[in-house]
Protein backbone atom coordinates (compact mmCIF):
# COMPACT_ATOMS: atom_id res chain seq x y z
CA UNK A 1 0.00 0.00 0.00
CA UNK A 2 1.46 3.41 -0.96
CA UNK A 3 1.83 5.65 2.06
CA UNK A 4 1.78 8.98 0.24
CA UNK A 5 -0.88 10.48 -1.97
CA UNK A 6 1.25 13.42 -3.07
CA UNK A 7 4.83 12.63 -3.97
CA UNK A 8 5.71 15.70 -6.01
CA UNK A 9 4.68 19.30 -6.38
CA UNK A 10 2.08 19.88 -9.04
CA UNK A 11 -0.57 22.31 -10.15
CA UNK A 12 -4.13 21.01 -9.87
CA UNK A 13 -7.59 22.36 -10.57
CA UNK A 14 -10.27 21.21 -8.14
CA UNK A 15 -13.06 22.18 -5.74
CA UNK A 16 -12.27 23.42 -2.24
CA UNK A 17 -13.79 20.34 -0.64
CA UNK A 18 -11.47 18.12 -2.66
CA UNK A 19 -8.54 20.34 -1.65
CA UNK A 20 -9.36 19.79 2.04
CA UNK A 21 -9.45 16.00 1.64
CA UNK A 22 -6.09 16.03 -0.16
CA UNK A 23 -4.57 18.38 2.42
CA UNK A 24 -5.73 16.20 5.31
CA UNK A 25 -4.13 13.21 3.57
CA UNK A 26 -0.92 15.18 3.05
CA UNK A 27 -0.95 16.28 6.69
CA UNK A 28 -0.99 12.67 7.82
CA UNK A 29 -4.53 12.70 9.19
CA UNK A 30 -5.37 9.15 10.20
CA UNK A 31 -9.12 9.23 10.59
CA UNK A 32 -12.09 11.39 9.74
CA UNK A 33 -15.35 11.26 11.64
CA UNK A 34 -18.29 12.89 9.97
CA UNK A 35 -21.93 13.36 9.26
CA UNK A 36 -23.06 14.69 5.89
CA UNK A 37 -24.20 18.27 5.49
CA UNK A 38 -24.05 20.63 2.53
CA UNK A 39 -21.80 22.33 1.52
CA UNK A 40 -19.05 20.19 3.09
CA UNK A 41 -20.27 16.76 1.89
CA UNK A 42 -17.57 16.26 -0.71
CA UNK A 43 -14.81 16.48 1.92
CA UNK A 44 -16.21 13.19 3.21
CA UNK A 45 -16.75 11.82 -0.27
CA UNK A 46 -13.18 12.45 -1.39
CA UNK A 47 -11.76 11.31 1.92
CA UNK A 48 -13.65 8.01 1.76
CA UNK A 49 -12.41 7.48 -1.79
CA UNK A 50 -8.78 8.17 -0.86
CA UNK A 51 -8.61 6.72 2.66
CA UNK A 52 -8.73 2.98 1.85
CA UNK A 53 -5.86 3.33 -0.63
CA UNK A 54 -3.57 4.95 1.94
CA UNK A 55 -4.48 3.03 5.08
CA UNK A 56 -6.56 5.79 6.62
CA UNK A 57 -9.93 5.43 8.29
CA UNK A 58 -13.39 6.89 8.20
CA UNK A 59 -16.41 6.62 10.47
CA UNK A 60 -19.79 8.03 9.62
CA UNK A 61 -21.74 8.72 12.80
CA UNK A 62 -25.44 9.25 13.42
CA UNK A 63 -25.21 13.03 13.82
CA UNK A 64 -22.79 15.88 14.41
CA UNK A 65 -22.80 15.55 18.20
CA UNK A 66 -21.51 12.06 17.72
CA UNK A 67 -19.07 13.06 14.97
CA UNK A 68 -17.63 15.64 17.34
CA UNK A 69 -17.33 13.28 20.30
CA UNK A 70 -15.81 10.48 18.22
CA UNK A 71 -13.24 12.97 16.91
CA UNK A 72 -12.35 13.67 20.55
CA UNK A 73 -12.10 9.93 21.15
CA UNK A 74 -9.81 9.50 18.16
CA UNK A 75 -7.56 12.26 19.47
CA UNK A 76 -7.49 10.74 22.98
CA UNK A 77 -6.42 7.45 21.44
CA UNK A 78 -3.49 9.31 19.88
CA UNK A 79 -4.75 9.59 16.31
CA UNK A 80 -4.62 12.65 14.11
CA UNK A 81 -8.37 12.91 13.78
CA UNK A 82 -10.57 15.49 12.13
CA UNK A 83 -14.12 16.29 11.20
CA UNK A 84 -15.94 18.72 8.94
CA UNK A 85 -19.32 20.36 9.15
CA UNK A 86 -21.45 23.41 8.40
CA UNK A 87 -24.41 25.45 9.59
CA UNK A 88 -26.72 23.60 11.97
CA UNK A 89 -24.09 20.82 12.11
CA UNK A 90 -21.62 23.35 13.45
CA UNK A 91 -24.19 24.30 16.10
CA UNK A 92 -24.47 20.71 17.30
CA UNK A 93 -20.73 20.26 17.25
CA UNK A 94 -20.13 23.07 19.73
CA UNK A 95 -20.97 20.75 22.61
CA UNK A 96 -18.15 18.25 21.93
CA UNK A 97 -15.80 21.04 20.85
CA UNK A 98 -16.35 22.84 24.13
CA UNK A 99 -15.28 19.58 25.77
CA UNK A 100 -12.17 19.58 23.56
CA UNK A 101 -11.41 23.07 24.89
CA UNK A 102 -11.89 21.85 28.48
CA UNK A 103 -9.60 18.86 27.98
CA UNK A 104 -7.14 20.60 25.68
CA UNK A 105 -7.70 18.07 22.87
CA UNK A 106 -6.07 18.91 19.51
CA UNK A 107 -9.08 18.42 17.27
CA UNK A 108 -9.09 19.75 13.71
CA UNK A 109 -12.46 20.86 12.35
CA UNK A 110 -13.22 22.21 8.90
CA UNK A 111 -16.24 24.50 8.72
CA UNK A 112 -17.76 25.37 5.34
CA UNK A 113 -20.15 28.13 6.33
CA UNK A 114 -23.66 28.14 4.91
CA UNK A 115 -26.48 30.60 5.50
CA UNK A 116 -28.22 30.88 8.84
CA UNK A 117 -30.05 30.87 11.19
CA UNK A 118 -31.13 27.22 11.31
CA UNK A 119 -31.35 25.39 7.98
CA UNK A 120 -31.47 28.67 6.01
CA UNK A 121 -29.42 28.20 2.79
CA UNK A 122 -27.02 25.46 1.78
CA UNK A 123 -25.07 27.98 -0.24
CA UNK A 124 -22.82 30.45 1.53
CA UNK A 125 -22.32 32.97 4.32
CA UNK A 126 -19.83 34.26 6.86
CA UNK A 127 -22.40 33.82 9.59
CA UNK A 128 -20.58 31.13 11.55
CA UNK A 129 -17.84 33.45 12.75
CA UNK A 130 -19.17 34.05 16.26
CA UNK A 131 -19.96 30.35 16.73
CA UNK A 132 -16.63 29.11 15.38
CA UNK A 133 -14.44 31.63 17.22
CA UNK A 134 -16.16 31.51 20.62
CA UNK A 135 -18.23 28.35 20.40
CA UNK A 136 -20.14 26.83 23.29
CA UNK A 137 -19.87 27.44 27.02
CA UNK A 138 -16.39 28.50 27.98
CA UNK A 139 -14.04 31.19 26.76
CA UNK A 140 -13.38 30.23 23.14
CA UNK A 141 -9.81 29.03 23.60
CA UNK A 142 -9.43 27.99 20.00
CA UNK A 143 -7.40 28.67 16.90
CA UNK A 144 -9.41 29.70 13.84
CA UNK A 145 -7.93 30.23 10.37
CA UNK A 146 -10.18 32.00 7.87
CA UNK A 147 -9.00 31.01 4.39
CA UNK A 148 -9.58 32.93 1.16
CA UNK A 149 -8.51 30.64 -1.67
CA UNK A 150 -7.70 27.05 -2.52
CA UNK A 151 -3.97 27.43 -1.94
CA UNK A 152 -4.70 28.61 1.59
CA UNK A 153 -7.22 25.83 2.15
CA UNK A 154 -4.42 23.39 1.35
CA UNK A 155 -1.66 25.19 3.28
CA UNK A 156 -3.70 25.93 6.40
CA UNK A 157 -5.38 22.54 6.63
CA UNK A 158 -1.89 21.04 6.81
CA UNK A 159 -0.83 23.70 9.30
CA UNK A 160 -3.94 23.15 11.46
CA UNK A 161 -2.87 19.61 12.41
CA UNK A 162 0.56 20.80 13.52
CA UNK A 163 -0.69 23.84 15.41
CA UNK A 164 -3.40 21.79 17.15
CA UNK A 165 -0.96 19.11 18.34
CA UNK A 166 1.69 21.63 19.31
CA UNK A 167 -0.48 23.93 21.43
CA UNK A 168 -3.34 21.56 22.30
CA UNK A 169 -6.23 23.86 21.53
CA UNK A 170 -9.10 22.87 19.19
CA UNK A 171 -8.20 24.20 15.75
CA UNK A 172 -10.52 25.24 12.95
CA UNK A 173 -10.38 25.97 9.25
CA UNK A 174 -13.17 28.43 8.58
CA UNK A 175 -14.15 28.18 4.92
CA UNK A 176 -17.52 28.73 3.30
CA UNK A 177 -19.84 27.35 0.65
CA UNK A 178 -18.15 29.31 -2.12
CA UNK A 179 -14.72 27.97 -1.27
CA UNK A 180 -16.22 24.51 -0.87
CA UNK A 181 -17.82 24.40 -4.29
CA UNK A 182 -15.76 26.59 -6.58
CA UNK A 183 -12.92 25.34 -8.74
CA UNK A 184 -9.60 27.12 -9.12
CA UNK A 185 -5.95 26.23 -9.44
CA UNK A 186 -3.47 25.59 -6.64
CA UNK A 187 -0.15 23.85 -6.11
CA UNK A 188 -0.22 20.72 -4.02
CA UNK A 189 2.92 19.32 -2.42
CA UNK A 190 4.27 16.84 0.05
CA UNK A 191 4.75 18.97 3.20
CA UNK A 192 7.86 17.03 4.24
CA UNK A 193 9.57 17.85 0.95
CA UNK A 194 9.03 21.51 1.81
CA UNK A 195 10.70 21.03 5.15
CA UNK A 196 7.49 21.02 7.16
CA UNK A 197 7.99 18.73 10.12
CA UNK A 198 5.00 16.94 11.53
CA UNK A 199 4.31 17.34 15.23
CA UNK A 200 3.78 13.74 16.32
CA UNK A 201 0.50 12.61 17.82
CA UNK A 202 0.53 10.79 21.13
CA UNK A 203 -2.17 8.96 23.04
CA UNK A 204 -3.81 10.66 26.01
CA UNK A 205 -5.03 7.37 27.43
CA UNK A 206 -3.81 3.77 27.43
CA UNK A 207 -0.16 4.71 27.86
CA UNK A 208 2.20 2.01 29.13
CA UNK A 209 3.11 1.78 32.81
CA UNK A 210 1.19 2.29 36.04
CA UNK A 211 -0.16 5.81 36.58
CA UNK A 212 1.38 7.38 39.67
CA UNK A 213 4.15 4.79 39.73
CA UNK A 214 5.85 4.66 36.33
CA UNK A 215 4.43 7.91 34.99
CA UNK A 216 2.33 10.93 35.87
CA UNK A 217 -1.35 10.10 35.82
CA UNK A 218 -3.29 11.71 32.97
CA UNK A 219 -6.00 14.00 34.34
CA UNK A 220 -8.18 15.00 31.45
CA UNK A 221 -11.13 16.67 33.04
CA UNK A 222 -14.20 18.49 31.95
CA UNK A 223 -15.81 18.42 35.40
CA UNK A 224 -14.89 20.33 38.56
CA UNK A 225 -16.43 20.24 42.00
CA UNK A 226 -15.45 23.63 43.31
CA UNK A 227 -15.32 27.07 41.74
CA UNK A 228 -11.72 27.72 42.72
CA UNK A 229 -10.49 24.52 41.15
CA UNK A 230 -11.94 25.46 37.77
CA UNK A 231 -10.64 29.00 38.17
CA UNK A 232 -7.08 27.79 38.73
CA UNK A 233 -7.14 25.45 35.76
CA UNK A 234 -8.50 28.21 33.50
CA UNK A 235 -5.73 30.58 34.60
CA UNK A 236 -3.21 28.08 33.27
CA UNK A 237 -5.14 27.78 30.02
CA UNK A 238 -5.27 31.56 29.58
CA UNK A 239 -1.54 31.82 30.24
CA UNK A 240 -0.81 29.10 27.65
CA UNK A 241 -3.10 30.81 25.16
CA UNK A 242 -1.53 34.25 25.66
CA UNK A 243 1.93 32.78 25.28
CA UNK A 244 0.89 31.14 22.04
CA UNK A 245 -0.74 34.24 20.48
CA UNK A 246 2.36 35.89 18.97
CA UNK A 247 3.43 32.54 17.51
CA UNK A 248 0.18 31.80 15.67
CA UNK A 249 -1.35 35.18 14.81
CA UNK A 250 -1.39 35.81 11.05
CA UNK A 251 -2.67 38.63 8.88
CA UNK A 252 -2.15 40.20 5.48
CA UNK A 253 -2.11 43.94 4.87
CA UNK A 254 -0.90 46.52 2.36
CA UNK A 255 -1.14 50.24 1.66
CA UNK A 256 -2.32 51.01 5.19
CA UNK A 257 0.45 53.49 6.07
CA UNK A 258 -1.10 56.62 4.56
CA UNK A 259 -4.65 55.30 4.14
CA UNK A 260 -7.70 57.41 4.88
CA UNK A 261 -9.88 54.33 4.64
CA UNK A 262 -8.73 50.83 5.52
CA UNK A 263 -10.93 48.01 4.24
CA UNK A 264 -11.15 45.15 6.74
CA UNK A 265 -12.38 41.76 5.60
CA UNK A 266 -11.71 38.07 6.10
CA UNK A 267 -12.05 34.83 4.18
CA UNK A 268 -13.40 34.72 0.67
CA UNK A 269 -14.66 38.33 0.91
CA UNK A 270 -11.06 39.54 1.19
CA UNK A 271 -10.50 38.48 -2.46
CA UNK A 272 -12.88 41.21 -3.60
CA UNK A 273 -11.57 43.62 -0.96
CA UNK A 274 -7.99 43.13 -2.17
CA UNK A 275 -8.96 43.72 -5.77
CA UNK A 276 -11.06 46.78 -4.82
CA UNK A 277 -8.18 48.36 -2.88
CA UNK A 278 -5.73 47.71 -5.72
CA UNK A 279 -8.08 49.34 -8.25
CA UNK A 280 -8.76 52.35 -6.00
CA UNK A 281 -5.03 52.80 -5.31
CA UNK A 282 -4.34 52.90 -9.04
CA UNK A 283 -6.81 55.78 -9.19
CA UNK A 284 -4.72 57.55 -6.56
CA UNK A 285 -7.14 57.06 -3.69
CA UNK A 286 -5.73 56.56 -0.22
CA UNK A 287 -7.20 53.18 0.60
CA UNK A 288 -5.58 50.35 2.53
CA UNK A 289 -6.21 46.65 3.04
CA UNK A 290 -6.15 44.59 6.20
CA UNK A 291 -7.19 40.99 6.55
CA UNK A 292 -6.77 38.85 9.67
CA UNK A 293 -6.00 35.25 8.67
CA UNK A 294 -6.43 34.08 12.25
CA UNK A 295 -9.81 35.25 13.56
CA UNK A 296 -8.96 33.66 16.88
CA UNK A 297 -6.55 34.83 18.14
CA UNK A 298 -6.92 38.15 16.31
CA UNK A 299 -3.96 40.38 15.42
CA UNK A 300 -5.12 42.81 18.10
CA UNK A 301 -1.98 44.92 18.31
CA UNK A 302 -2.00 45.66 14.58
CA UNK A 303 -5.74 46.36 14.55
CA UNK A 304 -5.44 48.81 17.44
CA UNK A 305 -2.67 50.59 15.59
CA UNK A 306 -4.81 50.85 12.45
CA UNK A 307 -7.67 52.28 14.46
CA UNK A 308 -5.55 55.13 15.70
CA UNK A 309 -3.78 55.87 12.41
CA UNK A 310 -6.48 55.59 9.73
CA UNK A 311 -9.39 58.03 9.56
CA UNK A 312 -11.94 55.38 8.71
CA UNK A 313 -12.25 51.64 8.93
CA UNK A 314 -14.64 49.87 6.60
CA UNK A 315 -15.63 46.38 7.73
CA UNK A 316 -16.94 44.22 4.89
CA UNK A 317 -18.48 40.82 5.59
CA UNK A 318 -21.23 38.41 4.51
CA UNK A 319 -22.83 38.61 7.97
CA UNK A 320 -24.55 41.28 10.04
CA UNK A 321 -21.49 42.31 12.03
CA UNK A 322 -20.05 39.07 13.43
CA UNK A 323 -16.55 39.91 12.17
CA UNK A 324 -17.35 43.56 12.94
CA UNK A 325 -17.94 42.67 16.59
CA UNK A 326 -14.51 41.00 16.82
CA UNK A 327 -12.90 44.08 15.30
CA UNK A 328 -14.75 46.53 17.56
CA UNK A 329 -13.64 44.56 20.57
CA UNK A 330 -10.01 44.65 19.43
CA UNK A 331 -9.91 48.36 18.56
CA UNK A 332 -11.66 49.70 21.65
CA UNK A 333 -10.35 53.18 22.34
CA UNK A 334 -9.22 53.74 18.74
CA UNK A 335 -10.13 56.98 16.99
CA UNK A 336 -11.04 55.81 13.47
CA UNK A 337 -14.64 56.03 12.37
CA UNK A 338 -16.22 52.56 12.17
CA UNK A 339 -18.12 51.95 8.93
CA UNK A 340 -19.63 48.82 7.48
CA UNK A 341 -20.78 46.93 4.44
CA UNK A 342 -22.78 44.00 5.77
CA UNK A 343 -24.49 41.52 3.44
CA UNK A 344 -25.55 38.57 5.60
CA UNK A 345 -25.59 35.29 3.70
CA UNK A 346 -24.82 36.94 0.36
CA UNK A 347 -21.60 37.13 -1.65
CA UNK A 348 -19.89 40.52 -1.99
CA UNK A 349 -18.39 41.57 -5.31
CA UNK A 350 -15.38 43.80 -5.99
CA UNK A 351 -17.69 46.38 -7.60
CA UNK A 352 -19.83 46.67 -4.45
CA UNK A 353 -16.79 47.25 -2.25
CA UNK A 354 -15.45 49.92 -4.63
CA UNK A 355 -18.71 51.84 -4.63
CA UNK A 356 -19.01 51.67 -0.81
CA UNK A 357 -15.45 53.00 -0.42
CA UNK A 358 -16.16 55.81 -2.90
CA UNK A 359 -19.24 56.70 -0.90
CA UNK A 360 -17.31 57.18 2.33
CA UNK A 361 -13.97 58.52 1.08
Amino acid sequence: MPDKLITEEKRVFMTGNEVVAWAAMAAGAEIMYGYPITPQNEIMHYWTRLAPKYNRRFLQTEDELSAGFTTLGGVMAGRKAFTATAGPGNTLMQEPLSMAEAMRLPTVTIIQQRGGPSTATVIYSQQEVTMTTFGGNGEGLRIVYSTANHQELFDYTIKAFNVAWKYRFPTFILGDGYQAKMRESLTIYDPEQRGIEFVPAEPFVGKPGTPGVDREPGHYRNTYNVEEELYDVLQEFFADYEKMVPEVVEYHSFDTEDADVVVLSHGVVSRGAKEAVEILRKEGKKVGYFRPITLRPLPEKELKELATKAKKLLVVESAQGQFGKLIKNAIYGGTAEFLTLYKPGVGITTEEIISRVEEIL
Binding site: S185, E275, T349, T350
Partner: protein, 184 residues
Protein backbone atom coordinates in the same frame (compact mmCIF):
# COMPACT_ATOMS: atom_id res chain seq x y z
CA UNK B 1 -5.64 44.97 -13.15
CA UNK B 2 -5.37 41.93 -15.28
CA UNK B 3 -7.95 41.42 -17.97
CA UNK B 4 -10.54 39.05 -16.67
CA UNK B 5 -13.19 37.59 -18.93
CA UNK B 6 -16.43 37.14 -17.01
CA UNK B 7 -18.84 34.58 -18.36
CA UNK B 8 -22.28 33.69 -17.08
CA UNK B 9 -24.15 30.63 -18.27
CA UNK B 10 -27.75 30.08 -17.26
CA UNK B 11 -30.38 27.54 -18.16
CA UNK B 12 -32.85 25.04 -16.80
CA UNK B 13 -31.55 22.27 -14.56
CA UNK B 14 -30.45 19.47 -16.87
CA UNK B 15 -29.54 21.68 -19.83
CA UNK B 16 -25.92 21.17 -18.93
CA UNK B 17 -24.72 24.72 -18.30
CA UNK B 18 -22.63 23.58 -15.33
CA UNK B 19 -20.85 20.98 -17.47
CA UNK B 20 -20.05 23.60 -20.09
CA UNK B 21 -18.64 25.96 -17.47
CA UNK B 22 -16.60 23.19 -15.91
CA UNK B 23 -15.16 22.03 -19.24
CA UNK B 24 -14.26 25.60 -20.24
CA UNK B 25 -12.63 26.18 -16.85
CA UNK B 26 -10.63 22.96 -17.22
CA UNK B 27 -9.58 23.94 -20.74
CA UNK B 28 -8.37 27.35 -19.54
CA UNK B 29 -6.49 25.75 -16.65
CA UNK B 30 -4.82 23.33 -19.07
CA UNK B 31 -3.59 26.33 -21.03
CA UNK B 32 -1.94 27.62 -17.86
CA UNK B 33 -4.48 30.38 -17.39
CA UNK B 34 -6.25 31.15 -14.13
CA UNK B 35 -9.85 30.04 -14.09
CA UNK B 36 -12.47 30.26 -11.39
CA UNK B 37 -15.78 28.49 -11.80
CA UNK B 38 -18.55 28.52 -9.24
CA UNK B 39 -21.96 26.98 -9.72
CA UNK B 40 -24.96 28.77 -8.32
CA UNK B 41 -26.01 25.76 -6.35
CA UNK B 42 -28.86 25.39 -3.93
CA UNK B 43 -32.53 24.98 -4.65
CA UNK B 44 -31.76 25.45 -8.34
CA UNK B 45 -30.28 21.96 -8.41
CA UNK B 46 -33.73 20.62 -7.82
CA UNK B 47 -35.37 22.17 -10.86
CA UNK B 48 -35.05 25.85 -11.50
CA UNK B 49 -32.64 28.20 -13.21
CA UNK B 50 -29.10 26.92 -12.95
CA UNK B 51 -26.38 29.56 -13.16
CA UNK B 52 -22.62 29.18 -13.60
CA UNK B 53 -20.17 32.01 -12.89
CA UNK B 54 -16.93 31.56 -14.81
CA UNK B 55 -13.91 33.87 -14.89
CA UNK B 56 -10.76 33.39 -16.92
CA UNK B 57 -7.63 35.51 -16.66
CA UNK B 58 -3.87 35.52 -16.97
CA UNK B 59 -3.60 36.36 -13.25
CA UNK B 60 -5.19 35.25 -9.98
CA UNK B 61 -8.90 36.00 -9.85
CA UNK B 62 -10.59 38.10 -7.14
CA UNK B 63 -14.16 37.67 -5.90
CA UNK B 64 -15.83 34.47 -7.14
CA UNK B 65 -18.96 36.28 -8.29
CA UNK B 66 -19.40 39.51 -10.23
CA UNK B 67 -22.00 42.19 -10.97
CA UNK B 68 -21.56 42.51 -14.72
CA UNK B 69 -20.63 39.79 -17.18
CA UNK B 70 -18.76 40.20 -20.46
CA UNK B 71 -20.91 37.49 -21.94
CA UNK B 72 -24.20 36.08 -20.70
CA UNK B 73 -25.63 32.93 -22.22
CA UNK B 74 -29.29 32.31 -21.35
CA UNK B 75 -30.92 29.13 -22.50
CA UNK B 76 -34.52 29.45 -21.30
CA UNK B 77 -37.06 32.22 -20.83
CA UNK B 78 -36.65 32.11 -17.06
CA UNK B 79 -32.89 32.21 -17.48
CA UNK B 80 -33.23 35.41 -19.51
CA UNK B 81 -35.21 37.13 -16.75
CA UNK B 82 -32.83 35.84 -14.10
CA UNK B 83 -29.64 37.02 -15.82
CA UNK B 84 -30.76 40.46 -16.99
CA UNK B 85 -29.28 42.05 -13.87
CA UNK B 86 -25.80 40.92 -14.94
CA UNK B 87 -25.98 42.71 -18.29
CA UNK B 88 -24.11 45.99 -18.77
CA UNK B 89 -23.23 48.23 -21.71
CA UNK B 90 -20.36 45.99 -22.75
CA UNK B 91 -22.15 42.68 -22.33
CA UNK B 92 -22.75 40.31 -25.22
CA UNK B 93 -26.07 38.62 -24.50
CA UNK B 94 -26.49 35.24 -26.17
CA UNK B 95 -29.81 33.41 -26.05
CA UNK B 96 -31.47 30.60 -27.92
CA UNK B 97 -33.57 31.81 -30.80
CA UNK B 98 -36.20 29.19 -30.01
CA UNK B 99 -37.14 30.95 -26.76
CA UNK B 100 -40.54 32.56 -27.03
CA UNK B 101 -40.12 35.89 -25.27
CA UNK B 102 -41.38 39.40 -26.09
CA UNK B 103 -38.64 41.48 -27.75
CA UNK B 104 -39.00 44.21 -25.12
CA UNK B 105 -38.12 41.74 -22.35
CA UNK B 106 -34.60 41.23 -23.71
CA UNK B 107 -31.89 43.29 -22.00
CA UNK B 108 -31.81 46.39 -24.20
CA UNK B 109 -28.65 47.82 -22.64
CA UNK B 110 -26.51 44.93 -23.89
CA UNK B 111 -23.74 45.79 -26.35
CA UNK B 112 -24.98 43.01 -28.58
CA UNK B 113 -27.95 40.66 -28.58
CA UNK B 114 -27.18 37.39 -30.25
CA UNK B 115 -29.89 34.82 -30.95
CA UNK B 116 -28.55 31.40 -31.93
CA UNK B 117 -30.62 28.39 -33.05
CA UNK B 118 -28.75 25.92 -30.83
CA UNK B 119 -31.80 23.97 -29.71
CA UNK B 120 -33.04 23.55 -33.27
CA UNK B 121 -29.65 22.42 -34.55
CA UNK B 122 -29.27 20.00 -31.67
CA UNK B 123 -32.68 18.50 -32.36
CA UNK B 124 -32.69 18.43 -36.15
CA UNK B 125 -29.04 18.19 -37.20
CA UNK B 126 -27.16 16.53 -34.38
CA UNK B 127 -28.63 15.15 -31.14
CA UNK B 128 -30.47 16.83 -28.23
CA UNK B 129 -27.72 15.55 -25.92
CA UNK B 130 -25.10 17.81 -27.43
CA UNK B 131 -27.14 20.99 -27.09
CA UNK B 132 -24.81 22.27 -24.37
CA UNK B 133 -21.72 21.48 -26.45
CA UNK B 134 -23.10 23.63 -29.28
CA UNK B 135 -23.46 26.41 -26.70
CA UNK B 136 -19.88 25.79 -25.60
CA UNK B 137 -18.70 26.23 -29.20
CA UNK B 138 -20.54 29.54 -29.37
CA UNK B 139 -18.93 30.74 -26.13
CA UNK B 140 -15.46 29.64 -27.29
CA UNK B 141 -15.88 31.61 -30.52
CA UNK B 142 -17.47 34.67 -28.91
CA UNK B 143 -14.88 35.06 -26.14
CA UNK B 144 -11.73 33.42 -27.47
CA UNK B 145 -10.93 32.41 -23.89
CA UNK B 146 -9.65 29.03 -25.02
CA UNK B 147 -8.77 27.53 -28.39
CA UNK B 148 -11.17 25.04 -29.92
CA UNK B 149 -8.40 22.47 -29.67
CA UNK B 150 -8.12 22.90 -25.93
CA UNK B 151 -11.89 22.87 -25.60
CA UNK B 152 -11.94 19.53 -27.42
CA UNK B 153 -9.16 18.20 -25.21
CA UNK B 154 -11.13 19.19 -22.13
CA UNK B 155 -14.21 17.39 -23.48
CA UNK B 156 -12.04 14.36 -24.13
CA UNK B 157 -10.82 14.49 -20.53
CA UNK B 158 -14.32 14.66 -19.14
CA UNK B 159 -16.10 12.27 -21.50
CA UNK B 160 -13.22 10.16 -22.79
CA UNK B 161 -14.45 7.08 -20.97
CA UNK B 162 -17.76 7.33 -22.83
CA UNK B 163 -16.01 7.92 -26.15
CA UNK B 164 -14.04 4.70 -25.60
CA UNK B 165 -17.26 2.74 -25.55
CA UNK B 166 -18.82 4.61 -28.42
CA UNK B 167 -16.42 6.52 -30.72
CA UNK B 168 -19.35 8.02 -32.59
CA UNK B 169 -20.05 10.15 -29.52
CA UNK B 170 -16.66 11.80 -29.92
CA UNK B 171 -17.46 12.71 -33.49
CA UNK B 172 -20.86 14.02 -32.46
CA UNK B 173 -19.39 16.22 -29.71
CA UNK B 174 -16.67 17.60 -31.98
CA UNK B 175 -19.23 18.38 -34.66
CA UNK B 176 -21.38 20.10 -32.05
CA UNK B 177 -18.55 22.35 -30.91
CA UNK B 178 -17.69 23.27 -34.50
CA UNK B 179 -21.30 23.95 -35.34
CA UNK B 180 -21.59 26.13 -32.24
CA UNK B 181 -18.59 28.16 -33.34
CA UNK B 182 -20.17 28.78 -36.73
CA UNK B 183 -23.20 30.36 -35.08
CA UNK B 184 -21.30 33.35 -33.73
Amino acid sequence: MADVIKIMLAGEGGQGVQSVAEILAEAADNEGKEALYIPNFGVEQRGGVSIAFLQISSERIGAPKFNTADIVVALSDRAIYRTKQYVGEKTVFVYDSGIDIPQEDLPKEAAKLLAIPALEIAKNELHPRVFNVIIMGAVVKATGVVTDKDAKNAIEKKLGYKFEQNPKLRELNYKAIERGMELV
